[in-house]
Structures are given as C-alpha cells and as structure tokens.
C-alpha cells in the first residue's frame, strides 16, 4: 500500500488511503459486512468459546471430552456414513452422468439436471418421511421386496439404523454425484477421443491413458464433496433415528437444544469445531481440484 502511494505521488497519506479505500473496497462493504457479521463472526466466536472452560478460563478439556465416548462413536459413525454413502453413490452416479451427458439430448440433460437438483437439495425432512412410508414395516416397497423373497425386517433392520440411514442418504447422494460430476464429462472433448483413435488407440487404450486420467481428479473431488454432505447431514437423520444411532450432528443438536446436558457447557462448540476440521479436510481439496480442472475445462 505504501509503495503504491509513493508511486502515485499522493499529496497526503490519509487522503490517498481514503481515495484508495473508496475506489478499491467501499462498494464491497455491504457484502463484507453481512458475511462478516452473519458468518465469520459466529464461526470465530464458536472457535474461541470452544477453548473456554465453564469459568471462562482457557482449557483443552472440551476437546478431550469431544474425542472420548460417546462422542468418539458419533464421529466414527458420521465419518463411516459419509464414506460409505459417497463410495456407493460415486461410481454409479459418475456412470449415469457419463451416459446422460454424452448420449442424451439437450432437453433430457436439462431435465435430469433440474430433477437432480431438486432431489439433492430438497431432501431433509420430507425425504425421511417419504422413506418411512415407502420402506417402513407397512410400506409397499417393503411388501414387494418380501414377496420377492427379501424380508427386510426379519433381522434388526430399521430405517433409523446405520444401514437404513445409508439407504436414505443414497437417495440424495446419487443425484448430487450426477450434478457435481457432469461438468467434467461435458469438458471431455470429442477431438481428444478422435485424435487418439486416429493415432491407433483402441477404445480401451483411450480410456486407460486419456479418459480416466483426465476424469480421475474430478471424480475424487466429487467423492470428497459427497463425503462432506453425508458426514454433516442432520435433518434426515434427526427425523429417522430415535437416539439409537450416535452421529455427531445429532449429538450437537441434542446439546444445543438442552435435551442432553453435559458437565462442560462448551462441549457442543468443541464438537462443532472438530466437525468443521473434518469437513474442511474434504471440501478444501474438493475446491482446489475444482479450481485446477476449471482451467482446462474452460473452452
């Protein structure tokens, strides 16, 4: 800033600063104020409070409790459901995106995009009730499956169990995969496969040496985003489980509601901070890969 002021030969530093402020920052102030107050401030405050004891002294106790039982199981379950739902949805979703993007008409592609958008985002509570009706003990789908020889409820299955929740999560994870992976497919240029073929590559060779290496980073990125979405989902799990499946978002919700009391008042904040750290480990690489691929995806 100073060097710029000198270069411009501004009369006084104060006025130059003001001029530069008006020119460079002022129009962004409303947006920055809203983001600052409604987003950065609460997050920073939570991080700060998570290091405070009940008497407002600095402590690491909250974090020590956060990684002990029962919160440990909560994290393990949440990470597991994020990983499993992402792993199961990723490949079929990518394949579906590939066929739809490369073979579908433009109308079909747009329709699928809109439908996926609705399914991936409107989820939450309605989704939970929909599955309760479809795959509950009295559900039609359950009866059909039973008729076909697969009795879902012969064992310990319930929609609030890990497997039950996993099935419900797939219903929004798969469309999410189609949404986030499609742009990568669109940017695979026809010329590349034609060039490879002209140079004598077989279909197999093209995929092994060009197609898959090009799509792989986007595939991993999409997987990471799916993980983050499954890991932090709250609404569906809250509606379907009845306290039988420890998941971190539900545990935080319980502490926040005061339904569950803990000796440490700020335990919930520490759990929130650990969640942010885990989520960041997935989302930040996702954003970095997206940014990198955006370079060659630009036409």
């Amino acid at each position: 800033m100073t060097s710029q002021v000198i270069e411009e030969g501004a009369p006084s530093r104060g006025r130059a600063f003001l001029a530069s402020f008006i020119k460079n920052i002022l129009p962004a102030v409303p947006l920055l104020l809203i983001i600052g107050f409604f987003f950065l401030f609460p997050i920073t405050r939570m991080i700060y409070v998570s290091f405070l004891s009940n008497d407002n002294a600095f402590t690491l106790e909250n974090f020590k409790t956060a990684i002990q039982e029962p919160y440990r199981t909560g994290f393990i379950n949440s990470i597991k459901i994020g990983l499993f739902s992402a792993a199961i949805a990723a490949f079929p979703g990518a394949l579906a995106a590939y066929f739809i993007e490369t073979r579908g008409s433009s109308k079909l592609r747009r329709t699928i995009a809109v439908m996926s958008g609705v399914l991936a985002n409107t989820g939450g509570v309605p989704l939970a009730f929909m599955f309760y009706a479809a795959l509950g003990i009295q559900g039609y789908l359950t009866k059909v499956l039973k008729h076909l020889g697969w009795d879902l409820y012969s064992g310990t299955f319930s929609l609030g169990s890990f497997i039950g929740l996993l099935i419900v999560y797939l219903y929004f994870q798969l469309p999410l995969m189609v949404i986030v992976f499609s742009p990568a497919i669109v940017s695979l240029r026809r010329e590349w496969s034609e060039a490879a073929r002209n140079l004598g590559a077989s279909q197999f060779n093209y995929w092994i040496r060009i197609g898959i290496p090009l799509l792989f980073p986007s595939f991993i990125a999409s997987f990471l985003l799916l993980f983050a979405s499954g890991f932090s989902a709250y609404a569906t799990a809250n509606a379907l489980t009845v306290g039988n499946l420890p998941l971190t978002p539900l545990q935080i919700g319980g502490l926040l509601d005061g339904n569950v009391s803990a000796a440490q008042l700020n335990l919930g904040k520490a759990l929130g901070v650990v969640m942010i750290v885990i989520s960041a480990c997935a989302v930040i690489p996702y954003l970095a890969i997206q940014r990198r691929s955006a370079k060659w995806q630009k036409r």
Partner: protein, 259 residues
C-alpha cells in the same frame, strides 16, 4: 452431429435412465401409495391430504416460509448483483478475497454454523425472525455467487456498461434495466436456487428454535404421522413436477454460456 445422435436409440442411455427411474420413482410411488391409504375403511382416499390443507397452520407456515424465502432472495439480489458487477468492472484487489470467502460456507457444516449463530448474536438479532433470511443468504451464497459470476463472465460487461452510462443511465438504472436483463438466465437460476434452499432449510431453523414449514412437518409427525407423510409428499412432488414441466416446456436459450 448432435442432432443425428439424438435420433439414434441408445441402449446404454436407455438402461441408465431405466435404472435411475426405478431408483427415484419406486420409493416415491410406494410412499404415495402409503399416503393415500385410509386405515379405517381399508381403501384409498385423500383423507390425509385434505386434513393437511384444512389445517390452519398449513397455510400459516407456508406463507411464513415463503416470505422468509422472498426476503432472502431480495437480500441476495440487492447485495450480490451490484457488488459482483463492481468486482468484475474494477479488477479490485479484494475480488480474490471475496471469491474465496463466498465458498467458505461450503466448508462449514450447517450444524456447526447453528452452534456459532446461537452463541454469537446479540439478543436483538436472536429475537427477530429476520435473522433467518440473512443466515439463509449465507447458506446459499456459494451457489448464488457462482451462478451470477458465470453469468457476468459470459457477457461483454464493460462494453454494455459503458454504452448504458454514456447514454445517460445512472448506476442503478444501468444495473436494473441493462445488466440484470442481459444476465437474466443467471439471475433466474439464482432466484430459484436461493428460494428453494430457504424454503426447505431445516437444520439451522430448528436449532435456532424458529418455526417454519419444514419444522412444522416434524411437529405434525408427533401426533399424525400420516398427515406428516402427506405433507412431505406434497413438498417433494409439487416442486419436482413444477420444475420438470418448466424445463420441458420453456425453450432453451442458446445465447448464454457456451460459445
């Protein structure tokens, strides 16, 4: 080339669509069948749907959710369109910073955000339901920002603005009557997205102890699970159908986006 491909029958595509169709519609239809059962007579009927729409709370909460979503859309447009236009025109140094910050809400799980919101805001903010539109704005920011950013990138913004300005339009007029119409595709997408997200938001709303349409559904479920299922079916199927029909019948714009 594309046209020729469209006519040809595509077995892999057909199979994909068939599997996806089963995956999406089997649970939906099965749930629908459940929602129109009438336990007393053993037949089918609209009992639960009629019950839901004749509840006073039904329209009360729908209206409430709608106006909250409307306010969120207004905040989004009023704040983001001018700011992004300026960022694109000025090449300001803060652009990189704001680009980065706009993606941050993706990193923060909503539950954690709710914890922060509950402890950080002063009383006067927590006491008004108007805190919700601002928080919804933050949640929708990564998508809204990107959508408008792409729209502004795809037009010769500088030329258009200079033309409007030299024809005597002030900044407000330039933005509302020139820039917004030119990027209407992005603006419409932003509105749809922000509105839908606000309308369906549950986690933050319930953890901050507010009542909106989605939280009312869980409340209903405590006494009348069949009513709650009927409401859920409506809130899943109606937007689904409306949006799909719109996409199918609104002609595609060929001007925006790709070269």
């Amino acid at each position: 080339m594309a046209k020729a491909l469209r006519v040809k029958f595509q077995p892999p595509l057909a199979l994909t669509l068939l599997i996806l169709g089963f995956f999406v519609f089997l649970p939906m239809l099965s749930a629908f069948e459940y929602s129109i059962r009438t336990p007393l007579t053993g037949g089918y009927g609209w009992t639960h749907y009629i019950w839901a729409v004749t509840e006073d709370d039904f329209f009360h909460y729908i209206l409430r959710s709608m106006w909250l979503a409307g306010v969120t859309v207004l905040i989004t447009l009023f704040v983001l369109v001018p700011t992004l236009t300026w960022l694109h025109l000025s090449n300001s140094k803060v652009r990189g910073l704001i680009d980065g910050i706009s993606l941050l809400p993706l990193v923060i799980p909503v539950v954690a955000f709710a914890v922060g919101a509950q402890i950080a805001f002063p009383e006067f903010v927590q006491n008004t339901v108007l805190e919700l539109p601002f928080l919804y704005f933050v949640l929708a920011l990564p998508y809204a920002y990107r959508s408008l950013d792409i729209g502004l990138n795809s037009i010769p913004l500088k030329t258009i603005t200079e033309a409007a300005r030299s024809a005597g339009a002030n900044w407000m007029r330039t933005i509302t009557t020139v820039i917004v119409p030119v990027i209407r595709g992005s603006v419409m997408a932003t509105i749809a997205l922000t509105f839908a997200l606000s309308l369906g938001e549950y986690t933050l709303t319930v953890l901050l102890h507010w009542d909106t349409f989605p939280t009312w559904v869980t409340y209903v479920a405590q006494d009348n699970i069949l009513g709650a299922i009927a409401i859920s079916m409506m809130s899943l199927i109606i937007p689904f159908l409306i949006l799909t029909v719109i996409t199918l019948f609104v002609p595609e714009r060929s001007t925006q986006g790709r070269k």
